[in-house]
Every structure is written in C-alpha cells, then in structure tokens.
Symmetry: D2
Subunit: 334 residues, 4 copies
C-alpha cells in the first residue's frame, strides 16, 4: 500500500521530523511508534520503528525501521568527526542489515539516485563513484576472489529529465537482468529544518517512494516493484523557503516563551498559536502567488555533499565487505 505523503504537506523526507510534527499535533507519544535514542561524541543516533498501520497513518510514513544519524558538527568540515561518523554508520548499517535479515553474502546492487549536474541532488551518483564494486570479479573468476568480499555492483540511473526514463524503470530493468538479493538506494532528501541539511543521514528499509527526494520521482523503488528488498539511505541537502519561515516562527515563540502568554501574543499575534500545518499553509499562501516557494540549499553545498558522500561510500564499503576496514577503507574512495 502506498501512502500519499504529500497530503500531509510535511515537506520533509525525515522520519524524525515527521514524528516531531505528528507528536506535536497528537499531543504526545504515538502508540506503535517505538523510539530509541543514543548520543555520544556529538553523534546522535535515533532508531524509530513504525510498527502498525495507525502509527504509520499518524506519522505519514510507511511501516518499517528508520535509523537517523544526526551530527550538527558535520557543518564544520572536521575530518576526525567525519571518520567517527563513518564508523558509527558502519556499526549502525551492519546492525540494520542483520536486523532486517540481509545475510553477509547477499548480492547487493547500490543505486545512486539523483542528477549529477545539480549539486544538491548529486549525492547518489557521488556515492556510487566511490563504491568498491566486485560483481565482475565474481562473474569472471569467482574462485580467485579473496575471502571477505561479497558481490557488489553499483549504478547511477540518472533522472527523468536527462534520460527520458524513470530511474525506477532503469533500476528494475537492471535488477531483472543481474538479480541481486537486495538494493541499497542513495538519495538526496528534503528536510523541514535548515540545521538538519547536510548533517543528517537516514537509513530505512522502506525503499524509495514517489515524490520523495530532491528529484521528485514519479515511480518508486520498493520491494513490491523490484521484487527484492530495497534499503534507502538519504541525506537532506535542501529545504523549502516556506519551512525556514515556519521554523523561525517556532523559534520566536520559544524565544518569547519567558515573557508570558499575553506579551508573546502582543508581539507575535496569532502566529504561535497556529499548528505546523496552518502556519505552513499561511506562509505558502503568502509566498505562492509570487512563485516564491523555492527550494534552497546552503552556499557550501559543493563541499558538504562531497564530504558526506565520502562518509557514506566509506561506510558502505566497510559494512558490505568484511575485508575492508579502518586501515584500508581510504584506498577505495577518491
């Protein structure tokens, strides 16, 4: 079953944000939504399981497992921190594969979604460029492949505007042909808050759904379509101008929260009383006639996207191949 994510008007591809919004409107923890949070060294890991249909409806997300790694410090281009994030990613991703039953010998096709000509949408193709592919060695000389490697292949299918073909169709065609056991799809996402842009990695076992991501797919990459499990790895690289405004109103509300309800109302009028959806609607109503609701990305996007693509590619190489570890992982990325 496909949820219409758009009707929730959430404008976020992150489960942690969807949960925040849903809980604010529900007024507390949502039954069927399990959450586990761990934090140390500036790295926050949130594991959310959406376990039943009611919770799924409330949060506007498919049932499944979601892991979010949030690292505000990634903004500062700290090489040491990047390495720690890569290690956390390896640990979480390996655990995730085990949890959802992908064996250590499963053949993997890595799919880098997005448009390499649009910097904030180029995450997927950049990751693919740095994936250690091995499938051809298994095909050509299987008995000469060392232990500690599995069959991995990788493609960047391009976007509809460049190819005339849905990326979903390209991937489905390749999956039917080479028959991997699972697909891992990398995609750039939209977030509702600027501060999560380029500092957050989401892993989920729900595949890619229509309308998600920066490039707005029309068809998805899901187990239903592909016939094999599809794990999605995403990083928010953009957000809507309207959501920036929304979050600022929110912050103003908090800013004046000490001043008492009466004064806050005097200063901010009815704005703080509006729910997230109403506020978004107001901002969009105001912006839309001018064609203003543009999607924005931080000025430093080129370096951010390259750094985080490197983190994910290193992490995947180490998580997928036991022979790749901290000592040699750098040799496989550019």
């Amino acid at each position: 079953m496909e949820l219409d994510l758009q009707k929730y008007n959430v404008r976020t591809d992150l489960a942690v944000e969807a949960k925040e919004i849903a809980e604010a409107s529900y007024g507390g923890p949502i039954p069927g939504l399990n959450e586990e949070v761990e934090e140390h060294g500036g790295i926050k890991v949130t594991r959310i399981d959406v376990t039943n249909e009611a919770a799924s409806q409330r949060i506007g997300r498919i049932q499944g497992h979601y892991i979010t790694v949030e690292v505000p410090g990634l903004r500062n281009q700290d090489t040491d921190l990047q390495e720690q994030v890569a290690q956390t990613f390896v640990k979480e991703f390996s655990g995730f594969l085990q949890k959802i039953g992908i064996s250590s010998e499963a053949k993997i096709l890595v799919v880098g979604l997005g448009n390499w000509n649009v910097t904030p949408d180029s995450l997927g193709p950049l990751v693919v460029e740095n994936i250690l592919v091995t499938r051809h060695y298994f095909e050509l000389a299987p008995d000469q492949v060392n232990d500690g490697y599995r069959e991995v292949s990788a493609v960047a299918p391009g976007v509809l505007g460049l190819t005339g073909i849905e990326s979903s169709d390209v991937v489905k065609g390749i999956v039917d042909r080479i028959k991997p056991d699972a697909v891992i799809a990398i995609d750039a996402l939209a977030s509702k808050s600027l501060e999560r842009v380029n500092t957050t990695i989401q892993i989920a076992d729900i595949g890619i759904h229509p309308g998600s991501g920066v490039g707005n797919k029309r068809r998805g990459l899901t187990q239903d379509i592909l016939g094999v499990p599809c794990i999605a790895i995403g990083v928010p690289t953009v957000c809507y101008a309207s959501t920036i405004v929304g979050s600022v109103i929110d912050m103003m509300k908090q800013h004046f929260s000490g001043s008492g309800a009466e004064q806050t109302k005097q200063i901010l009028g009815m704005l703080p009383e509006l729910g997230e959806q109403e506020r978004l609607m107001l901002v969009k109503e105001v912006l839309q006639p001018l064609g203003h609701d543009v999607v924005v990305t931080p000025k430093e996007i080129d370096e951010f996207v390259e750094d985080i693509a490197n983190v994910i590619a290193s992490g995947l190489n180490a998580a997928l191949h036991q022979a790749v570890n901290g000592d040699n992982v750098a040799a496989y990325t550019h």
Copy 2:
C-alpha cells in the same frame, strides 16, 4: 573614503535594495539619489546615481553610478529571454562605459572574483573562462590584429582560502605589471530577497569593496587601490536565511493589508510595525544562538550560474569588441 557597509546591517550588495530600505526608513525619496527606470519585455532597467555624500550615507553606498537589470523570467531558463538580456546588457554596458569616460580603445583587464569550487561563488571564474582575450595578439603581432578588437585580458585570482593571498593583491600585482586602462571585476553578490537571486545583474563604477560579495573580501578593488577605474559587475546568487524571514513578514503584512490595521495586529502582532532593521535584528537574535543564519542559494544554482555567466560573457565580448556582434558572439563562449 570607505563606508562601513556592514554597520548598516543591510546584507545586500544591491543598490536597488539599499535604496528601498533607506527610503522606507527615510519616508520618501532621498535627495541626491537620482533614479531612472525603464521596463519592457520582462526586463527592468534601473539607473541610480548617488550624487552626494548625504545620499551616500543614507543609502550606505559609495557615490557613483549603478545600473540594475532585473529579469524575473531568467528563473525559467528561457533561451530567447537570455539572448534579449545579453542584448540589453550590451546596450547598457556600452552606454555606461561612455558615460564614465572609458574610451573604445581602453585596454581592459577582466577579473573574475570568487571560488570556482563553490558553485554560488563561481560566477566570476566562469565569466572569465568565456571572455575573448586578445591582449597577447596585440603584444605578439600588433599589426596583424583586425579592426574592431581592443586589448582585453582576463584572470580569476582565486580566493584567500585557496591561495593565501588577497585577490586584491593578486590583481594589484597584475595591474602594476600589465598596466590596463580599466578593470572590470565580476563577482557573485548577496541579495536581501530570494527573488532577486540569479535574476538580477548590477553594474557600478565603484569597484569592489571589503566585505562585499559571496566570498567576503578583506581588501577592495577600487580606483584608489588599483590606480585605474574599476567597474563592478555583480549578480546576487545567495541570500541570508534571516532576510528570507524578513521578506516573508513583509509579505504577510501586505497580504493582510486589506483586513484593516486592527485585524492585522491581531494576527501578526507587532511584527509588521518593526522597521526592516529591527525585524532583521529580531530574526537574527532568534536564529544566532543556534548558529542558524546560514547563507542559502536556490537548488538550481548550477544551471543558473552557468546561464548568467554566459549572458555576461557574451555581453562583455560584444560590448568590448566592435567586431563581435549578435551573429558571431556564440562562437566565443562555450
């Protein structure tokens, strides 16, 4: 004399925006500020002359001549419109050179400021890549150069973080060595409104001043420093998250203006009553503690910056060389 543009807190490099802000706080037309507006075919040309010190102080801009070409339609990547903008640019820029006394034989050094690794800051280097340079022909075989060309050279000096040298020092060194009659400096700018980003070209005879542009120079490129006139051509490619919020509050005010003062106040509180500076200060106060006041650029920046760099390079080639015109201009750009 150098103005401290930062103290005005304007966060815009555009004279048209500085004028809007200054007039709003002054309460009407500012004496000494002459403006001429022309518009047709979706292209709006504004010529502003800042003629005395008082006006300069009010608007927070150096005395001089400013031309702004605004083309909202450039967002839509319309090839025909781009060509018309290039033609308007040629006409305006040629007139501008004449007005400020740069002869048709003056030797020109085109300087592309900015960082080629940061897409929204790469405008200058991109323009330089497409400039028709001729200085070497004049040096090596002056009598074999056809009529209709003048001496043009072009450099992209890089940014402080990449070279360890102020771009101002690189350019001054080259100017002292090759002695052009004038410098034309291309730079990416910051605007206070998202809708001017990538749709506006500003021409001014005031050079480049410290703190302006996307890359925040510490030293300027001015006639005082270089010893020859410096014309600045700029395109806003970024804006601050805080100014987006500011403009939205402004639009909300207008949106509810029909509802009567009382109701507007009920909905928006005191926000609409704040002056531009106070509002900015509020938004920044709210955002700053979170480190939020990031600089953003539209998601489509790669294509925008390439298109507009092409418009400016074509325009400069035709404006500087009489032998280059509508029929052959495309042959000189990539």
Copy 3:
C-alpha cells in the same frame, strides 16, 4: 555469428582501415566489398557495404553497412567546419536510417558507452548529455507532444570497472523494460593511424562487438542480444603506440620510393618488405617485453572530444526529430 576480430590483430575499429589492410594483403579490390566515396569541402564520405561472408572474413568485419565521415580539418577547431560536418552527419545518418528500414516514428534509445572519467573514452556519455530526450513527454502527456518529435531516451550505462556490470547487461535490462524500436550506441574507438583520431566518424548497422572500442567490452550490443537493431556510431580517439610506428615505417617507404628499390633497401633494410601484420608483430615483439605498447591519444583530447560529441549530438537531434533543424539545434546542446 561472431567474428574474432582480435585474431586479425588489426587494432582498428574502422572499416575503412580494415579494408585498406585487407586489400593490401589481397592485392586489390575484394569481391563482395562495395565502396562509394564522395568528397567536398574537406569532408570525405565513404560508404562501404560488406555483402557476403567471404568479404566479411577477408576484412574481419561483420556483414553490414558502414559509413565513414573523414574531416582532417576537425583538428583545427574550426567552428564553421564543425557545423558543416554536423549537417553532413544529419544527411548521411537520415539516409542510413531509411536504408536499413528504421521508420521516422521508431522509438529510439541512445546509449553512450564508455567511462566519463577517462577523457578519450568519454565520448558516449558526453553525447548522451546533449541528446534531446522526449520519451517522458510521450509517456506522461502523449497528446500534448508537438508534431515533429519522436520518442527518444538516452542512457550512459558506465563501464565494468565502475559498475561491476557489463554495459551490455545494463542496456539489455533497460531495453527489455522500455522496449524501444532501435538502439543507437555511441562509442569511442581505436584507429590504426593517428591522423584519423578525432577527425573521423563511423556509422554502422552492426551494433557493438566484444573487444571493440576504447573500453574493451566483453559482451556486445547486437540485434541478437538486444532483440532490436543496434546502430553504432563511433569516433576513434586513441591509437596504439605500435601502430604509430607501423604507419611511420609505411611513410618512410613512400618517402624513399623515388630513390629506387636498391637504395630504399640500403636505408630501411627489410622493413618496407614486411606486410602490415609482420611489421606490427615485429614492433610489438620489440615493445612488449618493456610493457611499452601503450594506448595514446592527442594532447588536445579534452577539446576534441567535446567538440565532436557536440557535432554528433546536434546531428542526432536533427536527424531524429523533424522539428529540430539548423535554426534551433544549438538550443538543445550545452
């Protein structure tokens, strides 16, 4: 039936060169090999039909139709000449499609073979970037597509070393999924003579065969494999060091041909008497132990490959869509 092209040791992907070699060893025109040559304005068009199995064996090429467009002047980066070549290409390619029975409404998948990270192997992907794709319009809103366009899609499948998947498998998967009526595959080739590198375009209705091209495919793109006709468009961008030496010995022979057999023998020894194969074998024997037989490309390859990719993309856009012509073709390429 697949020919083992390698056993002929030809080291050329061009039919015109294979024919030269074969005729030299056969001692004259080969029966079953029809040739038509046309030349004007510095553009030489050769149409070769390999009409029977004996001719195919002699020339080491599959039976089929080959067109070669040779333009030595392309070395000089003459924009006017490039445009004429694009026009010749449109005329020849349109005629070719008609001759081999591809209708003007046939749905086309353009495939850009090769590695975008290896400049001399990047021709295919570069062409694909500039193809006017329309398939998605036909899919999403078929009744809104203007007359004069056909369904065109385009992919660059990458190379084995980057993806772990044979490009043949990627393409076969996509063909099975989207079912085009014909495939047009663009590939960079190897030539036996440096002077044909970057100045020659070959069109053939034989598809892509294992071992051909710069990237050395292991599996082909042929009608047998794909189930639809595959037209190959290739440009030589590299040649082997050994063949350079071979051609030089050949030129020496011609250089001294006026001096009489005795003197030539005195100067060049037995070298001129060797057949092409023997000479190649000698040169390779000499070079191989040192690991010397590297593949080389002209220093200016970046610009050459960009220019010729542009010629082919413009040519394909005009040949495939009747609505695209000399006036608007530039709008579709970068």
Copy 4:
C-alpha cells in the same frame, strides 16, 4: 644567459634524457656533469649537477642541480607505492632546499603552471588545489599560528590563450606584491620516451625556461626575472609522436644486437647507424608534410595526472611544514 634549447632539437624537458643523448653523441661521460644514482624499492633517484658552461652547452641545460625520481611502477596505480614515492619526494626535496640554501623559514609561493582545461597540462593547477596555504594566517594573526608551519601561498596563473597574459607576467606581478623568499613552480613536461611519461618527477633549481613544458611559455620564471630563486618541479605527461618512433628504432637495434652487425644491417638498413638527431630529423621529415608530429599522452592520463599531483602536493606540504607528516598529510589534500 639563456640557452636556445630548441636548437638541440631534444624535445625533452628531462635532464636525464638530455644527458643520455649528449653522452651518446659525445661518446662517454661528459666532464663537468656529475651524476649520483640511488635505487631501491622500484624507485630510482638520479642527482645530476651541471657544473660548468661546457657541460651545460653539451647537455643543452642551464647550469644547476637536477634530481630525477623515476618510478616505472606508478603506471600501475599502486597506492602503497605512491605513498613511498611521496616519502622519497619529501626526503629529496627537503635535502634539495637545504643544498641550495633555502631556509626552513623562507616564505614560499607555489606556482601551478599550465591549463586546467587540457588534462595533460593540468598538473600544476591540480597541485596548487591541494597545497596547504598559510600565508593569510601569518598576515591576519601571526601570533596565533602554531609552530611547525611556514608562510606558503599558491596560485595557478593560467595560460596565455586563456588570460591574454604570459604566466611569467602574472607571477612576476604577484611576487613583486607579496615578496616571497622563493618560488616553486610546478609544470607538466615533455619527455622523449613514452615510458617516462607519468612515472618521473624532476626537481631543478633553474626555474622555468621559455619553450619548455607542455604549454610552451614564451617568457620564463627564473631568478633573473623574478628576483628570487625559482625551483621547478616537473612531470613529463606527453611526448612527440616522432620521438616514439625514434625510441622504437633504438629498441629494434638492441633487439637485433645479438644477430651480428651484418644481419642487423640487412634487417634495419641504415636506421641504427643514424645518430639520435639524424633519426629524429628523418622521422620528422617524413611526418611533417602530413602534419603528423602530434603530441600524445597515454589514454589513462586523467587518473595518472591526478595521482601524481597528489603525490607532489602531499610531498610539498610535508617538506614545507614540519608540522605536517605521514600521519596527517592526507587531511590536506582532496
């Protein structure tokens, strides 16, 4: 005094090759030419001192010190070997600086010559992109700079065809402005033998001379011109087609050397008897009328030039800053 390197028709920028040629024609070791060779682990270091004018004339090289690091294995893209070469480079370069009297606190300007749009000529700009520049820290906050760093700045001045300005003039202008104590210029070179292309690094204290390098400067970068010492670091990335042929004839001669003089003469005629110059002249005479003497580079040039630029940049960063060493050097390059 400037030597006319061209009249020697050497077509090599490497001192080791010039010495080979000169000794072959001189018939033995050349007085005034001191040579020291060290080799281990597949890395051969040759130190040549040209100590007097007679030797300089014979070898066609300026008096000075030359170090050549030759590593045939660099062809194989072996990451471990690259690291060892970087270490050897650090050791040799540090010793070289000491030998020629550049102190450990001397302010350095690194100059990356060449054209970033021409892959085999892009070595210099690529190195510059990865240099750890520090000059701005010394300028802005000298007392906050940690021990173990010196003042380093870096520029890529572009080439005449792109800027209209001799790179020599750009650099001279900058040197006059920022007054470094020494210049280190990186340039892509031409070699006479394909096997040295991309496997050899040359260090010399003679600066850059007109006509050298891939880009053929018209003016040099020498102590005479700049007023400070200029150290040149070069890597051959191209060679002439004619020299390939020349070396092959040479190899043939050696190949048949066991067969006795009479038989060699029968097979190769007079070719082996020709001196290097005569042979080159013959080959060029044969090739020239056809415009054939193109400059070629190996097909894999993109990856080679990136790898070796990385080796040199890492090496320079460690050699120039004591605080940079094997443990952290990777953090400064991309």
